[in-house]
Structures are given as structure tokens and as C-alpha cells.
Symmetry: C2
Subunit: 138 residues, 2 copies
DNA sequence: GTGCCTCCTGTAGTCGCTACAGGAGCAAGG
DNA sequence: CCTTGCTCCTGTAGCGACTACAGGAGGCAC
């Protein structure tokens, strides 16, 4: 499962962290810049040295992003996770996000519906007037 | 329906066009900048003077955006509309876009499902460990 | 005349990265 | 010891589709 071992005792480079958490190195640097990841200590050579906690945090961020949470929402969740015992607030955030996802689904279904109806009006071929184009300029 | 009349004989200012097509003035300027709207003639005072064709074009763009077409896709559709008799290509574009919308819906439904399952694990309250947070860092 | 509204130009910000450029270090192979 | 190639570093610019100003001019009503 975990084929990547730390290059130095107990610390990972940014590339190793990237592979472990399944994100790009550039994304890690970006997260550091915007304050999503703590600034890590450096090795003597000036390279970033991460621990296993960062692997967890970064994986948390990636999973949350995959579920459509915004960076700000995730920042919030991380804050709650740090504080501990805020399960109620976490659940509320999750349910609120769920609602917004359902809203987006509803929007897309309306688009799908309209587009399907409109496309159905059209025979294709080389007709001089296209009912799809007509429908779009109303 | 059409409460806005041209301020000069047969031509609209950018503000009038904006209200007619239901977009922001800034959006019109932006579209001009990126070549989506033709550069209009100016009045003596230096203001843009649009005709009814621009109302149609801009409405077309807005409606297409509402259906989730990208600016580039719309540029394409406008090109086809200009050429005339390209009904087949228009229909193909519409169906291809429909497929991509359906893909997005499927993505969101997966998110919805995962999020709902995850949220259901959680009792809320002030529990020390939160199953939602746990699920997110795996 | 004076206040307000619209219009103009131009630039910078949004979100979440991605893609470079240009330089330094580090490990393996010859 | 030297080269080769990989990774790492910093910093900046680009994407898409706008939005939000700043700063100035013109025009209309009171």
C-alpha cells in the first residue's frame, strides 16, 4: 500500500508527500502559499521536510476537494478538526454542502432537459434554418 | 415586453443593449475585447451604437451560456449560424454538449452519494471523534 | 450651476490550480 | 572525478468567464 518511504529519517520531501497524498508538487506549494498547509521545516540543503501528519492533512484536503468542498470550506473543516469535539458543526457543514451539490444537480438537469428538447426539434442535415439556433436567440 | 427604445434612431447604447439582452454592461465590453461581439460604430460623442442584430447575437450568447456552453463553443455556434445551412453540425455540437452535461451530473451524483453516506455516519453533537472527518482523511 | 447618471478606458481581482523559466543540488553511472 | 539526469527551489504568468473597481467625461433634470 505504502511503497514510498521517507528519504531521511521520518521526513518526506515535497515530491514524496505529493506521491503519498496523490496530488501534484505544485499543488503542495500552492497550498503552502495560501496558508492551507503549514510552512514545514527545511533540511540543511533547503528542502522541505514533511512528517506523517502532513500526509494526513493533504489527503484530507484532496478527498474534500474531490467531494466538491471549496478551499475555504476545507479551511473551516480543518479548523474544526483541530479543535476536536465539533462533530455537530462538521455535520452541519457537510449537509449544507450536500444541499449545494443537489442544487447544482438540479441546475444541470434543467440544462439537460432544455438542451435535449431543443436538439430533438432538429432533423440535422443541411436545412437552411436550424431550430436549435432559432431557440437560442429567443 | 420590450420597454426599451433606442435613444437615437435605430441604435442602442451599451446600457440599453445590456438591459435588452439581460447581461451586464461589463460583460458586453468583455465580449468585445475577446472578439465575441463585433466592434460597433460610435456616435459623435464616442459612445457605442448597436443595432438590433447585436441584441439577437448577445441574447444568443446569454442563452447558450445559461445552457452551459463555453465561450469557445458559442463562438463555433455563431460561426455556423453565420454560414447558414449547417444544421447537422449544430445538432452534433448540441448533442456533444448534452453528453458532457450528463457526465457532470453523474459526477455530482457520485459526490452526493458519498457525502450523504458519510454524513449519515455522524450523530452530530459533541462526540470526541467525528466519523466524517475520519472518512475524509483516508 | 450642481448633482447624478451613464458612459468611457484600463487594470486588477476572483478560484484552484497549472505551466513554465531559470537556477541549484544530489545521486548514480562511467 | 565528471557528467547526466532527476528532483528540488523561487517566482511569475496563464487559464475561463467574468466582476469590480479607479478615474475621468459627457449629458440631463432640477
Amino acid at each position: 500500500m505504502c511503497a514510498i518511504t521517507p528519504s531521511r529519517a521520518g521526513s518526506f520531501t515535497s515530491g514524496e508527500l505529493a506521491r503519498l497524498a496523490n496530488v501534484n508538487v505544485e499543488t503542495i506549494l500552492y497550498y503552502e502559499r495560501i496558508g492551507m498547509l503549514a510552512v514545514p521545516p527545511r533540511t540543511e540543503g533547503g528542502r522541505r521536510a514533511y512528517g506523517t501528519a502532513e500526509v494526513k492533512t493533504l489527503t484530507f484536503i484532496r478527498r474534500s476537494r474531490e467531494l466538491g468542498f471549496s478551499i475555504d470550506e476545507i479551511r473551516n473543516l480543518l479548523g474544526l478538526a483541530k479543535g476536536g469535539h465539533a462533530c455537530g458543526e462538521v455535520k452541519a457543514a457537510a449537509l449544507s454542502h450536500l444541499t449545494s451539490i443537489q442544487g447544482k444537480i438540479a441546475d444541470l438537469r434543467r440544462m439537460e432537459q432544455t438542451l435535449a428538447e431543443t436538439a430533438a426539434l432538429c432533423e440535422g442535415g443541411n436545412a437552411p434554418r436550424c431550430p436549435i439556433l432559432d431557440a437560442l436567440s429567443k
